[in-house]
Amino acid sequence: MRTIIFIYLYTSAAEAAEKAGMPQLDPSVWAPQIFWLIITFGFLYLVIWKVILPRLSDSIEQRNDHISDNLDEAKKVANEAEILNKSYEEIILKAKNEASKIILNNKKDINQKLFNIKKETEKIFDKKLKEVEKDINLMKKESITDVKKIALDLSDNIIFEMTGNKIDKKNIEDTIKEIIKNEQSRELN
């Protein structure tokens, strides 16, 4: 029902303006408002379309460009940094491997050298030892002949003193040789 009254009010606007006291429903104020609305709103539309919007979108787009540029650059830099980081790690790993290799090789070298030195010294020692042995043997032999001579002379002298005779030297020599032989064989055993 209220709606019907509402409609009735609208259909006879001039009457309603008086009854409800609504200045909005007085048709005499409609024309000037519409006219000025067209003028002012049209002006506003033109200014916004031609002046304000280009200015606004300019600065906004500029900023968006700037931001996305910066973002892109940051991404690029981050990626580069990551690549650098990786290569750096690789280099370090390589260096570590190489170092351990070098250490291992050096160890081998040193061991080899030590071994060589040891061998050489052993050889030298052996040589010296053999020489010494030879000397000793020589000396032994010499001493044996010396001993023989001494024994011969001594026994010759003793026999001469005791008997006043000279005994055949050959005889004495044979005896001494036998004794020495016996001695030597005993020594060997």
Binding site: T3, I7, A78
Partner: protein
């Protein structure tokens, strides 16, 4: 600056840029339509009925019929609006 920190920052900035474009916020605006929508439909329908009556000299039959059609339209509008809100 830490590399990880920088990367997180970049990610966050990108996230802000993308999420700000998908935000929906006009459910309230649609809800504001309901009451007037109903009244306007009834008004327009009755208006049509009123002038059809005048033209065909059938006062007030068509106006009454159109009043109810208008009410139906108003209800339909309200139903549509609430559907739209639910879809959001």
């Amino acid at each position: 600056m830490d590399l990880k920190e920088l990367k997180n920052k970049i990610k966050k900035t990108n996230l802000i840029k993308t999420t700000s474009e998908t935000h929906k916020g006009n459910a309230f605006g649609i809800a504001m339509r309901m009451g007037t929508e109903f009244v306007a439909a009834v008004f327009v329908a009755s208006f049509i009925g009123f002038y059809l009556d005048k033209w065909l000299d059938t006062k007030p039959i068509l106006m009454l019929i159109f009043f109810f059609i208008g009410a139906a339209t108003g209800i339909l509008n309200v139903v549509r609006t609430s559907k739209m809100i639910n879809k959001e």
